[in-house]
């Protein structure tokens, strides 16, 4: 009896090739496209979204001779992903909705759907690898997507298949051509957040929070010493490390170095003030067993595709973890993810709560609280 695998298909080249590879490997493949949000204006009698993507995924499945379904996960995606996205911006942070989508939508809700059809596995077109039950970076260093996968429940690892993780993007495209998937082989990459198709995330915030929300209302640009140097049109429109839209007239470039929702301030300063020597993360999740503990040395990535920096775990309290960085790292932004690595293996990660300008030290009296896996 062939083993059944539910493949999450976006209509793009990566998930299409993933499905085709699994068909070729002899799995009983079932394709599914998740309907996660509504496009554009909500017209009561016309409630469809991402029609082209759905149609492309359906056509690929027809070509592969496997069934295809559309799964409506709008409600859950709305509160697990979109609401959090909006709240984070409202609180002066820069969220990554893709992390929560992987954690809650793809590798929790979709796994439940897989259970319903006796599918042993869930597969996606992520550039990442499962090796001996552990999550590893994808073979294509440029495309590695483990930065977005740290939050999944550890128990999901044994249910995951990531067929294209051993390939580079050009190899995936070449294989798509070879397999006759011409419909998607040269499809351009989507760089945007799926529910913010034109990249204008402020429009979503205005729609959800109201245009007069504090995070979208005028506030001061201030420097580190408290000097007001201008007025901005809402701190949610800024992110740490941003240069665009700041007051001019400085000899050296200035950057957003902090966002303070309490007084709606966007703090600006020179490059040096962007440097962090430590960080605190919340919602920490561990994929490695045994779990890392106090004093362990890990590699940490604080931005998608940024270099992996050497660090030491100096504090662990429940799901809050503090790390000291060996060398300063620029633009550590609250709301972004910090992902911990041991070589190519993903140990876990968390949501950045705070960057620290001075290097934190391990407490002399090292209490060793038990780390808990997230439920």
């Amino acid at each position: 009896m062939k083993e059944r695998v539910l493949v999450a298909m976006s209509g793009g080249v990566d998930s299409s090739v993933a499905a085709a590879m699994l068909v070729r490997a002899g799995y009983d493949v079932v394709g599914a496209t998740m309907k996660l949000y509504r496009d554009g204006a909500e017209v009561p009698d016309k409630p469809c979204c991402s029609l082209d993507s759905v149609n492309d995924a359906r056509r690929i499945c027809e070509k592969l001779g496997v069934p295809h379904y559309v799964l409506n996960l709008e409600t859950a995606f709305g509160h697990d992903v979109v609401d959090d996205f909006v709240n984070e911006y409202a609180n002066g942070r820069t969220p990554i909705p893709c992390v929560r989508c992987n954690t809650f939508t793809k590798f929790r809700d979709l796994v439940v759907k897989a259970d319903g059809i006796d599918a042993k596995y869930v597969a996606t077109g992520h550039y990442a690898r499962i090796v001996d039950g552990a999550l590893h970076r994808g073979a294509d260093a440029n495309k590695d997507q483990t930065y977005f996968l740290w939050g999944i429940d550890r128990s999901a690892l044994s249910r995951m298949i990531l067929p294209i993780g051993e390939m580079t993007k050009p190899e995936t495209r070449a294989l798509a051509e070879e397999l006759g998937l011409h419909l998607v082989a040269q499809k351009p990459e989507s760089q945007e957040i799926c529910f913010v198709p034109d990249g204008n995330y402020a429009a979503i915030l205005e729609q959800k929070l109201g245009a007069d929300a504090p995070s979208l209302s005028p506030g001061p640009f201030v420097t580190n010493d408290g000097t007001v140097v201008g007025t901005h049109d809402g701190f949610a429109r800024f992110t740490i490390g941003q240069r665009r839209g700041l007051p001019g007239g400085y000899a050296a470039p200035i950057f957003v170095t902090a966002i303070r929702p309490a007084d709606r301030a966007v703090v600006v300063g020179p490059r040096e003030e962007l440097l962090g020597r430590g960080l605190v993360v919340r919602e920490a999740n561990w994929l490695a067993s045994p779990m890392p503990s106090l004093g362990d040395r890990v590699g940490v990535r604080v931005r998608h595709r940024s270099p992996i920096a050497a660090a030491e775990i100096v504090r662990v309290e429940g799901a809050e973890v503090e790390l000291a960085l060996d060398e300063p790292v620029a633009a550590i932004a609250p709301g972004q993810s910090a992902v911990f690595y041991d070589g190519t293996r993903v140990l876990g990660g968390g949501v950045i709560e705070q960057a620290m300008g001075t290097r934190p030290a391990r407490p002399a009296r090292a209490a060793l609280p038990l780390l808990e896996h997230r439920g």
């Binding site: 079932v30 496209t33 309907k35 009698d45 016309k46 409630p47 469809c48 979204c49 991402s50 029609l51 759905v54 359906r58 069934p67 379904y69 559309v70 799964l71 409506n72 439940v112 759907k113 259970d115 319903g116 059809i117």
Partner: protein, 397 residues
């Protein structure tokens, strides 16, 4: 042969069972044979004066007479359309646009209509009509009290479907039509699910407009007709030639008119026997599921129902997962209304009945028809019950 189907191209896939006849039906062999010449040797344009034209015209006129006979109508009361959606649009917008400036601006409908009716009424409202919604009781039937209250002498048109497409409930068409006439309003009924299932006779029931669709009765998708009672005002949707008395300009689809006529006649000839057969199959399916899962909720069970539809919710399951699991087991049914992307939207019909959201979200519509056999029903009872119980076990964890 267990659950064998008469259609070879479907039966190659591990004996799948088609339980979605309310969505569409295969074109009947007799229908295919009857329309075939009009794609070939009898290709003429019915408006042409030469021999080819005359031949096509004769076939079209004859088809019109045949469909009219099936509906108890005069041939001039029949207009061929592309199906139910066009008929509904033409009736509602065409009726209201003629009457709106004559002191009749209101359009009345029910919340359990097909989207073709609801969207047409919304379109009229967007153009200035006053939209009114009738009340539907918990059984899934429009209440006459609300009709008396809302259909008045300021009303252009009232549109209520004869048989509901999702739950099969039969609406009080005769009483509604009579009331409309006492206040001088046009009465339209979408009879797409009714024709062939209940008696539809223009001589007995005074509806003014009625729309039917060919593909629900063994004719091709894209075929259909609208009944327009003599003397009822109607503004066309299309403009062009004088075909169909100017009510529906455009070169007539002779092949589809012949197909519809053939399918309608076959349907009428089998009406009583097939209705009884389907009723037995549906009732057995319902009884089998309720026996296996006593808390199954059968929607519309307390109303008069057409014999071909069973809509059931198993508490603790969701229709999307159930439909996927059923399809993978070779049982093809449907959920609420499928949206264009193919995902399942919560049913507006069940919401209008006041069905709880979680129960509405579990609804599965199974509709029996020409492809349904006794053996198929046995297998569906077994597969459906097993999957539902399993799904419930999973979601309870």
């Amino acid at each position: 042969m267990t659950g064998s189907l008469s259609v070879p191209y479907i039966s190659t896939m591990n004996d799948p069972i088609y339980l979605d006849h309310a969505a569409t039906t295969p074109v009947r062999a007799e229908v295919l044979a009857a329309m075939e010449p009009y794609f070939g040797v009898r290709f003429g344009n019915p408006s042409s004066a030469h021999r080819w034209g005359r031949e096509a015209r004769a076939a079209l006129d004859e088809a019109r007479e045949r469909v009219a006979r099936c509906l108890g109508a005069h041939p001039d009361e029949l207009c061929f359309t592309s199906g139910g959606t066009e008929g509904d649009n033409l009736a509602i917008l065409g009726g209201w646009r003629v009457l709106k400036d004559k002191g009749r601006n209101a359009v009345v409908t029910s919340p359990i209509e097909h989207k073709a009716v609801l969207a047409s009424v919304h379109k009229a409202a967007a153009e200035g009509a006053e939209e009114r919604m009738l009340t539907v009781d918990a059984t899934g039937t429009v209440t006459m009290d609300s009709a008396h209250a809302l259909v008045r002498d300021d009303t252009a048109l009232c549109s209520v479907m004869w048989v509901n497409n999702e739950i099969g409930t039969i609406q009080p068409i005769e009483a509604l039509a009579n009331h409309c006439h006492t206040v001088g309003a046009i009465f339209h009924t979408d009879a797409v699910q009714a024709f062939g299932k209940v008696e539809v006779d223009a001589r007995k029931i005074p509806f003014d407009f009625l729309s039917i669709s060919g593909h629900k009765i063994g004719a091709p998708k894209g075929s259909g007709a609208m009944f327009i009672r003599r003397g009822t005002p109607l503004e066309p949707l299309f403009f062009g030639g004088s075909q169909d008395r100017g009510r529906r300009p455009g070169t007539e689809n002779v092949a589809y008119a012949v197909a519809l006529a053939t399918a309608a006649e076959l349907t009428m000839a089998e009406h009583d026997a097939e209705g009884a057969r389907l009723g037995k199959l549906r009732d057995r399916l319902q009884a089998g599921i309720v026996a296996a899962i006593p808390d199954a909720v059968v929607h519309g069970r307390d109303a008069k129902r057409a014999t071909h539809v069973l809509n059931v919710s198993i508490p603790g399951t969701d229709s999307e997962s159930m439909l996927m699991a059923l399809d993978l087991q070779g049982v093809s049914a449907s959920g609420g209304s499928a949206c264009q992307s193919g995902s399942i939207e919560p049913s507006h019909v069940l919401r209008a009945l006041g069905v709880r959201a979680d129960i509405a979200g579990a609804a599965i519509r199974m509709s029996v028809g020409s492809l349904t056999t006794d053996a198929a029903i046995d297998r569906v009872i077994h597969v459906f019950s097993a999957l539902a119980l399993k799904a419930r076990g999973l979601s309870a964890v």
